[in-house]
Symmetry: C2
Subunit: 321 residues, 2 copies
């Protein structure tokens, strides 16, 4: 019998969401468990396996599932492990063979990868990358993640950890301090956190300039504040997105020289800033890209539903497996 569903698991820092996905990308059945209420990988795997098995019985899905795909922080696709994920208590300082554990609990094949790679697979199966063999998904959230597909294959590298474009360094000297301990990483500029940081810098550098951003005093400025100000026509807020788009565009010009993707898909919160970000970004790509690649790479925003994209992407891994 043809398998009808793939299970997609999106492990977030708080909850783990499970969806049963059909070939069209519909998600008729869902559930979720806590990610963090467990002391060991074993007890987490047991809870997740139990949740999946119960749904299979309840909906009479036995024999109809092709397998399980998971998007997890610091997921190593080659080994099926979650490795030293800072925000997951039971995997903080360990290498947990999670795919094998879930496979054992459910009797289903299980593969995992990191969130950005799952997003790339989701775009290929259900989104803007349908039919494409060479593309990059850049996720613009708290940090900058990336999933690179080359010749139809996810780039995972010899160790399973390739595709860390947020930690390439466009600003080599006197760049911003990054959470990774180095300076000048792309994600310190091109991410929601990066935009907020640029806002704080601009306010300090230009004390004489008037801007709506000076009215925000209660909490540290967020990317959302900058977006709202830009929508109101605030010149400094618009410049902050121009600055962000320029740095990301210059970096993308280098990514194009590397793997010559047909399309670059922006995903995540900051991608919704729309033309405030996209216009200067595209301009910077055009200005900086090597002439043989000029005008060849489309830059677009994901059309997948933010809440569902991670499950879809993870499930795409199961269809592949």
């Amino acid at each position: 019998m043809d398998k009808l569903y793939a299970i997609g698991v999106d492990m977030g820092g708080t909850n783990t969401v499970v969806g049963f996905v059909d070939r069209r990308g519909d998600i008729p059945v869902r559930t979720s468990i806590s990610t963090v209420d467990y002391n060991t990988g074993e007890t987490y795997a047991e809870a997740l396996g139990k949740a999946i098995n119960e749904l299979i019985v309840k909906h009479n899905f036995s024999g109809k599932i092709t397998g399980i795909g998971m998007g997890v922080p610091n997921g190593n696709m080659n080994d099926g492990t979650i490795e030293k994920a800072a925000n997951i208590p039971w995997a903080k300082s360990e290498v947990v063979p999670l795919a094998a554990m879930i496979s054992e609990k459910t009797g289903l094949p299980c593969k995992l990868t990191n969130d950005a790679n799952a997003a790339a697979l989701g775009e290929m199966a259900y989104g803007a990358a349908k039919g494409l063999k060479d593309f990059i998904v850049i996720t613009l959230g708290t940090g900058l993640g990336s999933g690179i597909v080359v010749g139809g294959q996810l780039v995972v590298g010899h160790d399973g950890f390739a595709g860390e474009l947020g930690h390439t360094r466009p600003v080599r000297h006197n760049g911003r301090l990054c959470g990774c301990g180095r300076t000048g990483c792309l994600e310190t500029y091109a991410s929601a956190t990066g935009v907020a940081r640029t806002a704080r810098e601009f306010l300090e550098i230009y004390p004489e300039r008037k801007t709506l951003l000076r009215n925000i005093t209660a909490v540290p400025i967020t990317a959302k504040n900058v977006y709202d100000a830009a929508k109101s026509g605030d010149a400094m807020a618009i410049e902050i997105f121009e600055f962000t788009g320029r740095i990301l565009g210059e970096a993308i010009a280098d990514f194009i020289a590397y793997s010559s993707p047909k399309t670059i898909i922006l995903f995540g919160g900051l991608a919704h800033a729309g033309d405030f970000l996209l216009e200067p970004l595209k301009k910077a790509v055009d200005k900086n890209v090597l002439s043989i690649f000029a005008g060849k790479t489309e830059i677009t925003v994901s059309t997948l539903n933010d809440a569902e994209a991670a499950i879809l992407g993870a499930s795409a891994l199961a269809w592949e497996a």
Copy 2:
């Protein structure tokens, strides 16, 4: 019958060298023709086809050849074309479907790619990348070329032109003018030409410093002059290699974040500078690489014979085809 030989064709700016290569990488039969003594792609293809066919008859190789692989300037592997190659008179402003033409003249399958990609395939078939699925070959000659292998597949991109690492830009602002018309490209620093340029800059910036390089007056300084001076213990010459190695090492740290290669193989004239270049390069990689990749990527110099590597690499394309 098992095929015994692949034909490797290395098209240089002056001559085109043809070798019949066996599975061990021995080249029992060779010939060459001019690259430039032709007005059209058709007459060149005819001459090359004739040279190949004559050797097949002479050595009774009929039926023993698996195919022809070619390394050509501006070679597009997807389309089998040579596209606007500035130094080839019959392809200067045209797109010539050379693979199909050679296949037609010889009755053998023919594939082509650019020189650096051919070098990568050569390393995988016969050299330092034997058995590796993720590696990068960086060719350090007049310019900087690169062949990237990911998951066992050459990265060619959607248009056949991926892998232009020489035109990623480590120096985004106030960088050196590059032949491509932009500034700050890696190859303006990390190449034989780049080393000579650094020498001229250092001589100008430090007029008071003593160095053997000031004795060279007859011609513009070359990378070879700098190497000879470094071997004699000249401090400035050694610093020139340190400067070059540092910039290349910082760039390689970014390449590792992209595709996490197991090995990076340096090839070509400048790679022979040995530890003068390698030591500062490795130090810069160690200092700049993201911690999850630290110590994982080996950086090494090609062991293939310079004169034969291009033919071996091109022939590897034919074994693949």
